[in-house]
Every structure is written in C-alpha cells, then in structure tokens.
C-alpha cells in the first residue's frame, strides 16, 4: 500500500486568491490523480498528473484554473486559482499501486469566503 501525505488539511481563503495543495507519496508512482468532492457530493476526477509531461484534464476542468505540477515521482501540487465560493470543496490526491488499488490522501477542505 501507499502512504500519502496531503497538506494543508484545511484552509479558509479569500475570493480571488489562490491556494496550492501538496501531495507527497512514500513510494515512486507513475500517475497521480486529483479529485474534487463538492459538499455532499461524490468525487470527481480533475486531472491525471504524469511525471515529465503535462497533466491531462477531465471535461469541465482547465489548466488555467487548476494548474498542476509533477516535478518527480513522489510529489505533486494542485493549485486552485482565482478562487470563488463555488470552489469550496474537498480536494483529494490519489495514487494507484501495482496491484491496481487506489489510495487517497487525507483531503484538503477548502472554504472560500
């Protein structure tokens, strides 16, 4: 199994500002995934981050709003840019191990005021 450290665990931000969420994995992984969980909703995939290439974004998510970095095989960041109250959600990073199991970080609870 993979151990994922995600931070911050929560934050309250002013609208118009940006927040960068960090995700550190205890082993090297090819793909890292970022999800959003809006209040009372399920998880939706934002993008897939592959080391050494640009992230692949799902429909409805764009790089200008959610830039992602993947500098090495154990680390990734997701930035939520120019935030509005609609961005208030839980953001989670995830990795998949060699057996196909997906593991998640603890999540970042973001509140935009």
């Amino acid at each position: 199994s993979a151990v994922i450290s995600q931070k911050p665990s929560r934050d309250i931000c002013q609208r118009g500002t940006s927040l960068t969420i960090q995700c550190q994995v205890d082993s090297q992984v090819t793909m890292m995934f970022w999800y959003r969980q809006q209040p009372g909703q399920s998880l939706t995939l934002i993008a897939t981050a592959n080391q050494g290439s640009e992230a692949t974004y799902e429909s409805g998510f764009v790089i200008d709003k959610f830039p992602i970095s993947r500098p090495n095989l154990t680390f990734s960041t997701l930035t939520v840019s120019n935030m509005s109250p609609e961005d208030s959600s839980i953001y989670l990073c995830s990795v998949v191990d060699r057996t196909g199991r997906a593991f998640f970080g603890q999540g970042t609870r973001l509140t935009v005021v």
């Binding site: 399920s42 839980i90 997906a102």
Partner: protein, 119 residues
C-alpha cells in the same frame, strides 16, 4: 464513458445485522476493476474491497463481501455483523484496466450511500 449508479442514498441497519449496498455500472470494456470505498466523517477515503472483472470469484475481506454479476453489471457490497464503526458514506467506483500497469485511468465514482448503524 463509464457510469456508476448507487440507487440507495441512505441505508440503516441494526448493529450485528447484515446489510447490502447496491451498485450498478455501465461500460463497454471487458477488463476493469471495481471498488468499494468507505468515507467516514474524517473524510479519509478507505479502500474496503476490490474486484477484478476477469475473476469470477467474488472478493471477500473479513466481514465485507461482494456479489459481482458481470453480465448484469452489478456489484453489491454485503456487510455482515455490522458494527458502529461501519457507519460512513460508501462509494462504489470503477476503473479501466487499460494502460501501463492498469493505472492510466482515474476512478469513476457513484454518488454514494450513507450507511447508518442503529445500536
């Protein structure tokens, strides 16, 4: 595109009893993974059980078992001897097995079932 449907927004069960959570999915692929995740109020996503589509045998993990019906595209979770600590949101999820190491795709989640355990 794949879809995952959980038709039970909320389920309630007495402690020590058995409960079954339903999940159906739609896909045109033949090789994939199915998962059940538990999310307690701490919001940590905890993997409960995993099923590989090519395996006919239903997966089991202690008190948790699945009924995987590939032709019917059904994947229900049975929790036996329910405990208070089982109270949480339960999400059914799908992932394609294509790509390098099977990890090329992210998960598609259902809307979740809120499980309540009555003492």
């Amino acid at each position: 595109a794949q879809t995952v449907t959980q038709s039970q927004p909320e389920m309630s069960v007495q402690e020590a009893e058995t409960v079954t959570l339903s999940c159906t999915y739609d896909t045109s692929e033949s090789d994939y993974y199915l998962f059940w995740y538990k999310q307690p109020p701490s919001r940590q996503m905890i993997l409960v059980i995993r099923q590989e589509a090519y395996k006919q045998q239903n997966a089991t993990e202690n008190r948790f078992s699945v009924n995987f019906q590939k032709a019917a595209k059904s994947f229900s979770l049975k929790i036996s001897d329910s405990q208070l600590g089982d109270a949480a949101m339960y999400f059914c999820a799908y992932r394609s097995a294509r790509g390098s190491g099977g990890g090329a795709d992210g998960l598609t989640f259902g809307k979740g079932t809120h499980l309540i355990i009555q003492p």
